[in-house]
């Protein structure tokens, strides 16, 4: 098969994927693409540097120079938003991917090996779950000082056990299915059984779980930033933007509304998209 043919097939697959999404899914897809673009291109688009004081007025309204007005120190909100989005999106995406990938991998490992492996891993995860997440994050930040890598790891560690629990319960059920038994009776190894027979059939609930964890991490980062322990100034993630401009709330300043709306559209977009993802069974009407 020629390379060009494969590319056009890929394109048409993508196009039909989008066309088959329900309206809510299309909206979600558009929001996700928009925010990913902002995260990647933000620094190029931002009209001013992140820490620059551009006006003497604080909590300015929208104007031709400052589309989203100015913040509590007279900095350009649009620039700070464009530069801050990638911290929120990058950390939340990275943290959620890390949490779900390790959680699910450990869950599958526990399921196919059963017995002591399962027992030991599950109790270890229970221990992790029992640690209050905010306190855990506060202690670690206090001990090591805030850095992007640490925030990423904290988010992953906090949200991994929950995913492990969900993935394990899904996998244990699938492990008893006849087609898994058939694979075992065929002599297949554990890796094949886990990766080919079990994993693909638990993807949909796992994606829903991924969306949940993504949002939790956005909120965790926002609350850490609110306490001043998240991303450090002059950089700011969306949560920090909300926190630092909280004094503008009584006036309904754009400086606090804009980042709030940004957080809302990211989480809503991710959820709409994931809920609308097609199931494994194709929607071809069965022959009667």
């Amino acid at each position: 098969m020629s390379g060009a043919g494969a590319v056009t097939r890929q394109q048409s697959r993508m196009r039909s994927f989008f066309a088959e999404l329900p309206l809510a899914g299309k909206i979600g897809f558009a929001l996700v693409v928009f925010w990913l673009a902002v995260a990647v291109l933000g620094p190029l688009l931002a009209p001013y540097p992140v820490g620059a004081f551009v006006t003497n007025d604080v909590f300015e309204d929208s104007s031709i120079h400052h589309w989203l007005g100015s913040d509590y120190l007279g900095r350009d909100v649009l620039s700070r938003l464009l530069l801050g989005a990638r911290y929120t999106i990058g950390l939340a995406l990275g943290g959620a991917v890390l949490a779900v990938v390790t959680g699910t991998a450990l869950a599958l490992f526990a399921t196919v090996n059963r017995g002591w492996t399962d027992e030991a891993l599950s109790r270890f995860m229970d221990t992790l779950i029992s640690i209050p997440s905010r306190i855990f994050a506060l202690v670690l930040v206090a001990a090591f000082g805030s850095s992007l890598l640490l925030l990423l790891l904290i988010a992953a560690i906090i949200y991994m056990p929950g995913n492990y629990r969900i993935a394990r319960s899904l996998a244990v059920n699938l492990n008893e299915m006849d087609y898994v038994q058939v694979a075992r009776a065929r002599g297949e190894g554990s890796v094949y059984v886990a990766a080919v027979e079990i994993l693909p059939n638990m993807l949909n609930p796992l994606l829903a779980d991924f969306a949940l964890r993504f949002m939790f991490i956005v909120l965790l980062l926002a609350s850490l930033s609110f306490l001043g322990l998240g991303v450090q100034p002059p950089d700011a993630d969306l949560g920090s933007l909300v926190r630092e401009n909280v004094s503008g709330l009584p006036d309904g300043a754009l400086a606090i509304l804009a980042p709030s709306v940004a957080i809302a559209t990211i989480t809503v977009g991710v959820n709409l998209l994931i809920d609308a993802l097609p199931g494994r069974t194709r929607s071809v009407p069965a022959e009667r």
Partner: protein, 613 residues
């Protein structure tokens, strides 16, 4: 007499994805006289349940009644508004579903659920309803009618639950009862009791009934009138005797033929030159679940001392009711469950008990096919991938060679090669079961363990699968271990038959010997419980009551006959004291029983005499 139920010109349609109207059933018409039983019969997808539900003015989501006239008693069902319909359902018209286990709420007592329709429709006070329920329990021959109502659904057997559901339906004295495959999920020996109870109450209460089923033999016992449906159309309508003895329609005739499969000649049963060791030799297997105790038996024993052999090219049938350990036997042979004791030999070579110790070659030679093709095929894999995996795994075939072999396999199981790219969800039940079989064939095995492969299928589709199995065996010189609860299926395909009861092997005999007595008393019960395509069979089948014996002393019951509590010819002082011997009857059957030929023939005659009176 004015008919009680009249349906004419009934058409139910569904809207397809591209907004086309599809007729699910078309132009259905019949009438039922008061107190008569009408049977709707057809394979799955024939629309029989749709018609039955339409009598209550109900259609499943996505369907609607397009046209037609439905009258039940005085009510024209299609003219009624939602509130009147709600008053009528469960009150004037009652519905008994296939699975009583799914229809009962597990967290409430049986009585509270049985009297619920009467309370909801305010036809009786609680005390009256409870008194009436006890009366119904008695009529339905339920044990301890005064007390069974205080139990929970999981505390009674499947057959009892089905009868309790009938009590629930009859509590409001409905004028019409709809029974939707009420005995399909039951064992034959249980089915016969439930059918008797249903028939008795329907007759005594003078209720008009609609009986939905795919089983002609069951219908022959229950119905006065039969409507044969196929693909939403009526193929034939008539009195039961007429349809049974002189079917006018080809489709009815094919249903009749499928209901009792003809024996397939084995042909290749002549043992090959290397017949020194049998292909599969299972020696004294004991297996079960839970930790193994000091005496070498697991905490929950399922199989005890199973000894069977399968010769190359022959088929061994394993038969027994649910819970008898049939599937566990297949799992032990496949290596999915390690036996507690005993050994398995494949062509004289010992098979290791656990999966981890078996070689790929050993895996290849023994393949297992599960009952339910819906769960046995990975819903996310295409047919090509499902069949391709064993080819790559055992025979290192990939690319074009693999595609070619997949096409050959599909041809072997009589499916078009175009289905290779489909997912299991896009196939019919019969097609799925064929793919399930083809996956086992892809390994080029020597023996296939078939676990109830036709049980989840319609009679017509199931008969086609049996036909296919017989052909494959001729073409490929395969051996089968064929597990089923249906004695007529087993008799049709197997050379030798082993009967399991409660994990013990109670009889082993060549197929020919399953046609005439003497049998083990349990085999006799099984054989006699299979409904015959003959109206009036149900009334004439004997059910001998076991003679009274003393309870075996505590702790001594372990090695006694497992069938003791149900056996009609048990002997006080022998059966409840001494374990039965494994011995050979005059004509070559091996049985696990104290009795000899004479008593067993007498028992059989007693059962048949009741019938001929």
């Amino acid at each position: 007499m004015n008919p009680h139920v009249v349906v004419s010109g009934l058409t139910v349609t569904a809207r397809s994805a591209n907004d086309r109207e599809i007729e699910i059933v078309s132009n259905i018409g019949f009438s039922i006289a008061p107190g008569e039983v009408l049977a709707l019969i057809g394979e799955s997808g024939s629309g029989k349940t749709t018609v039955a539900l339409a009598l209550m003015g109900y259609v499943r989501a996505g369907l609607h009644i397009d046209s037609g006239y439905i009258r039940v008693g005085e009510a024209e069902v299609r003219q009624l508004d939602a509130r009147t319909l709600a008053k009528m359902r469960g009150n004037r018209i009652a519905y008994i579903a296939q699975s009583a286990a799914a229809a009962f709420n597990p967290s409430r007592t049986i009585m509270s659920q049985v009297i619920e329709p009467a309370l909801v429709h305010r036809t009786a006070s609680r005390a009256e309803a409870e008194a009436k329920a006890v009366g119904l329990f008695r009529e339905l021959a339920l044990p301890e009618p005064e007390f069974i109502g205080s139990r929970y659904p999981h505390q009674v057997s499947g057959g009892q639950l089905q009868r309790l559901m009938a009590a629930m339906a009859l509590i409001t004295d409905p004028e019409l009862v709809i029974l939707d495959e009420p005995t399909t999920a039951l064992d034959v020996t249980t089915q016969i009791e439930v059918l008797r109870a249903f028939k008795k109450v329907v007759r005594e209460h003078g209720t008009t009934a609609v009986y939905v089923s795919h089983d002609l033999a069951v219908v022959a016992q229950m119905a006065d009138q039969i409507v044969v449906l196929n693909r939403g159309l009526i193929r034939e309508t008539g009195r039961t005797d007429r349809v049974m003895y002189e079917p006018a329609d080809d489709y009815t005739r094919s249903l009749m033929a499928a209901a009792r499969p003809m024996p397939h000649e084995s042909g290749t049963a002549a043992p090959g030159p290397d017949s020194s060791a049998p292909l599969l030799d299972v020696r004294c297997i004991t297996a079960g679940y839970g930790p193994i105790g000091a005496d070498g038996t697991p905490r929950v024993p399922v199989l005890k001392d199973i000894d069977i052999t399968v010769e190359r090219g022959s088929t061994l049938g394993v038969i027994g009711e649910s819970g008898s350990g049939k599937s566990t036997l297949a799992r032990v042979i496949a290596g999915l469950l390690e036996p507690a004791r005993g050994e398995i030999y494949l062509s004289g070579e010992r098979l290791p008990p656990s999966l981890a110790e078996r070689t790929r070659e050993q895996f290849r030679r023994v393949q297992i096919v599960f009952q339910n093709a819906d769960t046995a095929l990975n819903p996310g894999h295409t047919v090509a991938r499902i069949l391709g995996r064993p080819l790559a795994f055992y025979h290192r075939l990939d690319g074009a060679a693999q595609r070619k072999r997949v096409a050959e396999l599909l041809d072997l199981i009589r499916l078009p090669s175009t289905i290779a790219e489909r997912l299991p969800g896009e196939l019919s039940g019969g097609q799925k079961q064929r793919v399930n079989l083809a996956r086992a064939l892809a390994a080029e095995p020597e023996i296939i363990l078939c676990d109830e492969v036709t049980s989840a299928l319609d009679t017509v589709v199931g008969a086609a699968i049996l036909e296919l199995l017989a052909e494959l065996r001729r073409e490929l010189n395969l051996s089968y271990l064929f597990i089923s609860h249906d004695i007529s299926t087993v008799r049709a395909i197997c050379d030798e038959i082993v009967v399991l009861y409660s994990g013990r092997q109670v009889e082993l005999a060549p197929r020919a010997e399953f046609r005439r007595p003497p049998f083990h008393p349990y085999t006799d019960l099984l054989v006699e419980s299979v409904p015959e395509l003959r109206p009036g069979w149900l009334e004439k089948t004997g059910s001998a009551i076991p003679p009274v014996i003393d309870e075996p002393a505590n702790g001594e019951g372990r090695d006694l006959c497992a069938f003791l509590s149900r056996c009609p010819v048990r002997i006080n002082g022998v059966c409840n004291a001494v374990p039965p011997p494994w011995h050979t009857l005059g004509k070559g059957n091996n049985i696990l029983c104290h009795h000899d030929d004479e008593t067993l023939i007498r028992l059989h005659r007693k059962l048949s005499d009741d019938r001929d009176e």
